[in-house]
């Protein structure tokens, strides 16, 4: 009896100590922004966060926050969470890891459409209505490139977040616009909901002098939190295969992780 009691005490102590020592990994994520994340944890960033937490032997805790402007300042830098699962690799307000994927803005077109623009310099664009996402008070970068080519009259703006996030893809399917230029992960995910759509990466990759359409994506931590950054990098290195498999499942179109670009994004491309 005494031995079974001792066993019980030991087991209890073990449970207690493991609870005390298992740390939390606090992740800031948007509650309603598929395919990236949502509060039902259905996004690919949720999947990747689970994988990271598992490897770090940490309890995954979410701080659900809309990723509008100022979110880094108001949430990550305010100490409400410790990590962002996806952030551009040369995003200056945070400390970033090595990138784990690279994607591109893409043209979304109908397969039965007569035109399949691949380049912003395609003269056919002058005949098309072109959907572009609206990000708070600005369009996404393709609009700037279009405006430079005097194509501003062809632009139709679409909301980016929440339940209307797929409206820009639906507009192509419903022939409300001829094409849309959309950030790859969002396009890749929603394009599956509709038949007969295709994606083509935007050319050029960088509109001179400094307007990029491809971005390498990394994880981010508060500046100075080098230990956590190193841990996350170790997970990325070890689990790149599984991470890529997750991205495949969500249809995230990806470009080669060109070593040159990866290096650049570490240092920033200002």
């Amino acid at each position: 009896m005494s031995s079974s009691f001792r066993r019980l005490v030991c087991a209890f102590a073990l449970v207690l100590s493991s609870a005390a020592f298992a740390r939390d990994m606090r992740v800031c994520a948007d509650p309603d922004n598929l395919p990236f994340s949502n509060s039902k944890q259905q996004g690919f960033e949720n999947r990747i966060a689970e994988l990271v937490a598992h490897d770090l032997h940490a309890n995954l805790r979410y701080q659900w926050q809309r990723m509008g402007r100022g979110f880094v300042r108001d949430y990550l830098n305010a100490g409400q969470c410790d990590a962002l699962i996806a952030i551009p690799a040369n995003f200056k307000p945070v400390l970033t890891t090595t990138p784990y994927y690279r994607s591109s803005y893409v043209f979304v077109t109908r397969k039965d459409g007569k035109l399949r623009p691949a380049s912003l310099d395609d003269p056919a664009l002058h005949q098309l209505k072109i959907g572009v996402q609206v990000l708070e008070e600005d369009y996404t970068p393709p609009a700037t490139a279009l405006a430079r080519r005097h194509l501003q009259d062809q632009i139709v703006g679409f909301e980016t977040m929440g339940e209307n996030a797929d409206s820009i893809i639906r507009a192509v399917a419903d022939r409300k616009v001829d094409t849309a230029i959309v950030w790859g992960p969002l396009a890749g995910f929603f394009v599956k909901k509709y038949h007969g759509l295709q994606l083509t990466p935007v050319e050029p990759e960088v509109d001179p002098p400094a307007l990029p359409f491809t971005f390498a994506i990394a994880m981010g931590v508060r500046k100075g939190n080098i230990p956590l950054r190193n841990e996350l990098e170790a997970v990325i290195e070890k689990r790149q295969g599984e991470i890529s498999a997750i991205l495949d499942r969500y249809g995230v179109p990806r470009l080669e992780m060109a070593p040159r670009l990866a290096a650049e994004s570490r240092g920033g491309t200002q």
Binding site: D30, N33, P35, F36, S37, R66, M67, G68, R69, G70, F71, R73, D74, N77, A78, A86, I87, P88, N90, F91, K92, P93, Q133, V134, L135, E136, E137, D138, Y139, T140, P141, A143, T144, L146, A147, R148, Q152, D153, I155, V156, G157, E159, T160, M161, G162, W183, P185, L186, P208, P209, A210, L211, P212, F215, I217, T269, Q270
Partner: protein, 657 residues
């Protein structure tokens, strides 16, 4: 109110980094402040600077600007009046019953009270009468109202309304009303969760909540009479303005001039809360309420469906142009006047055209909303120059003839004097340093943009003045009938538009503009300026380390009140700018001072303290001062504000002993 999300830096006097040194800067630029904040640190630089300034000050007390010249090539500077003669106002003012029933005092928006018990002879004796804590820590921009011996205070989100009983000692709370706006509304407020106040009419208090509801509350009981939802936060719409109640209509305009919102002004029936008319800023004429009565003064504002044609095909639907600040009303002409906010998107190359009817002023029939005229201060706005600032309706002698005018200090740096019957610009004179334009052509009414200052992506544009918050933001001026001068609280800032930098919102990486704000020449961020609207010149000014973000109040006691972001509430002599009295409140001041006759027949002065707003978000939002990109790029120039003041909303009421 466009947004910049990138680092900035401040220029400053590096060798004068202490708090007292900053105070020095303020004193040095002021010809005749009293010695209420005596300097603690003197150094050679300050002495030299003060000597130069003193030498440049003329006998009647103007602040000269000789020290600015070395920095000001190509910069348009305000002119000083060399021989100011007091010119009491000869026009008509609304009768004054000693109450304060709307933020701007009267329909003409003078913020002038005929009360004179407190005056330039005794104001130095002013002492605290009572205080009241709002229990909130965000920016307090509202004007308290006083009606029937009751004071009404609206707070920032969650937009509580308090009624205080002025007949009892200490003004205890009579009731409070809580509209319970959704917390999510805080996420769509661009620049702190402020509210600019309520309006009283016919036994009711009217105000707006951040989550787009206009409420009508019984002024005696605090019971809700009606509540109307006029906007949708999911579309980015919010409301921060104080409604104007005129001729049975409650006039309400939308905030969220950020891209994606389609700006509007609505008139609600004051009895029922039913929407009587909606005037959109952009779109086809029928939406903008443009019809046969629409007769703009200038050719460029005439034509069919300019609210569509001056945009790329679909862009007007999401083109911004809110109406988030002030409305004036002329009962004789039956017209209301209000300005519209900047167009979106920020990247102006994506919206070629004049982008009508943003960044301009509408005159509308108050009954029907029909537009009668429109004038665009900043066609195809490039710099976030919302045109929403106050319009003071006056009858002034212009070129020897009395004209019905409106006086409008715009964000673009000019005080406009316009004929309010037809929209003709009679004068446009710089009241702050300007580099983005070189004047207004009075023949065509066109702002003369400076080509080389136009921002384009991939190019750095330096030395842009005024900045995005403008030479002056929402902070309302006051007009004194005693001096005939307009008292303008404003900013004194310039900015650089830097190259592009990677940013990220909503899972989407993009490249955004980069802005650096800094003090304009002279090394200070704000000014309180006495302005002669007849000559278009500065009579005196009081520089301040920070932008002067409070409203102004003028009284028949020959004094003017305003507050500073580091918490000083001041009374200055209306004639010469001498600081006669000041009181350090618990937080920075961005509220609107008011005055009233109490139940005891005595005059009182009231102000809400509680720093915040766009400029003060660094304190109200508890932002990290090292993060210069905070507060839409404003925090960089404000980064020492947390050293001066702390957050906390408190009403202060003053009286003579």
């Amino acid at each position: 109110m466009s947004h910049y999300d990138m680092p900035l830096m401040t220029f400053g006097l590096g060798h004068l980094s202490s708090k007292s040194a900053s105070k020095e800067r303020r004193k040095m630029r002021t010809f005749a402040q009293c010695d209420v904040s005596r300097p603690r640190v003197w150094n050679v630089a300050i002495l030299l600077f003060s000597l130069i300034v003193l030498l440049c000050v003329t006998p009647n007390g103007r602040t000269a600007r000789a020290d600015s010249k070395s920095h000001t090539s190509g910069m348009l500077m305000p002119e000083s009046e060399s021989n100011y003669q007091p010119r009491p106002y000869s026009g008509k003012l609304a009768p004054d019953d000693g109450q304060w029933v709307r933020p701007a005092k009267d329909y003409a928006s003078t913020r002038y009270s005929t009360l004179d018990q407190i005056n330039n002879g005794n104001v130095q004796n002013l002492k605290l009468a009572f205080t009241f804590s709002t229990g909130l820590t965000r920016g307090h921009e509202a004007a308290p109202l006083v009606v029937n011996n009751t004071m009404y205070v609206v707070t920032p989100w969650p937009n509580k309304l308090y009624a205080l009983d002025l007949t009892k000692p200490g003004a205890p709370m009579k009731w409070q009303y809580q509209p319970l706006p959704t917390p999510a509304a805080q996420g769509v407020a661009c620049c702190d969760v402020v509210n600019r106040g309520a309006s009283y009419d016919n036994g009711k208090i009217y105000y707006n909540t951040l989550d787009d509801q206009t409420v009508c509350v019984d002024a005696d009981t605090g019971k809700e009479v009606w509540k109307t939802r006029v906007g949708d936060i999911n579309k980015g719409e919010s409301i921060t303005m104080a409604p104007l109640v005129a001729k049975g209509k409650v006039l309400v305009g939308v905030s969220g001039g950020e891209f994606g919102v389609r700006g509007w002004l609505k008139a609600l029936d004051a009895k029922t809360g039913k929407v009587a008319w909606t005037g959109y800023t952009a779109g086809p004429d029928k939406d903008v309420l443009i019809g046969p009565r629409f007769k703009p003064f200038y050719a460029q504002d005439r034509g069919q469906d300019l609210g569509v044609k001056s945009w790329p095909p679909d862009a007007w639907k999401i083109g911004g142009g809110g109406a988030w600040a002030w409305i004036s009303y002329d009962p004789e002409l039956n017209l209301i006047y209000y300005g519209t906010a900047n167009p979106g998107p920020w990247d102006s190359d994506a919206r070629p055209g004049d982008n009508k009817f943003t960044a301009g002023i509408f005159a509308r029939d108050v009954d029907t909303g029909e537009a009668v005229w429109f004038y665009q201060y900043s066609p195809h706005d490039l710099y976030d120059y919302d045109a929403v600032n106050e319009n003071i309706l006056l009858d002034l002698p212009i070129n020897g003839q009395t004209r019905k005018v409106l006086v409008h200090p715009d964000r673009n740096g000019y005080v406009y004097v316009m004929d309010r019957t037809n929209g003709e610009v009679l004068m446009a004179s710089p009241f702050a340093p300007i580099t983005t334009s070189r004047g207004v052509d009075l023949k065509t009414g066109l702002l003369q943009y400076v080509e080389e200052k136009k921002p384009t992506r991939g190019k750095v544009a330096r030395g842009l003045c005024p900045t995005a918050p403008g030479a002056k933001d929402w902070q309302p001026s006051a007009f004194s009938a005693k001096t005939g001068l307009l008292y303008i609280p404003h900013n004194h800032l310039c900015m650089d538009e830097e190259d592009v930098a990677v940013n990220y919102i909503a899972g989407t990486p993009y490249v955004g503009a980069n802005v650096v704000m800094y003090d304009a020449p002279g090394g200070y961020g704000g000014e309180f300026t006495a302005w002669d609207p007849v000559t278009g010149k500065v009579v005196w000014n009081i520089p301040d380390h920070f932008p002067v973000w409070s409203g102004a109040l003028a009284t028949a006691g020959n004094i003017v009140f305003y507050g500073t972001m580091d918490g000083w509430f001041r009374a200055v002599d209306a004639a010469n700018g001498k600081v006669l009295w000041q009181f350090k409140t618990g937080s920075g001041i961005i509220g609107q001072p008011v005055t009233y006759r109490g139940p005891d027949g005595k005059q009182y002065i009231a102000i809400l303290s509680g720093v915040g707003g766009w400029a003060g978000a660094i304190v109200a939002g508890g932002l990290d001062a090292r993060d210069k990109s905070a507060a839409l790029g404003f925090a960089g120039v404000m980064q020492d504000l947390p050293k001066y003041t702390n957050q906390g909303g408190m009403l202060y009421v003053f009286q003579l002993p």
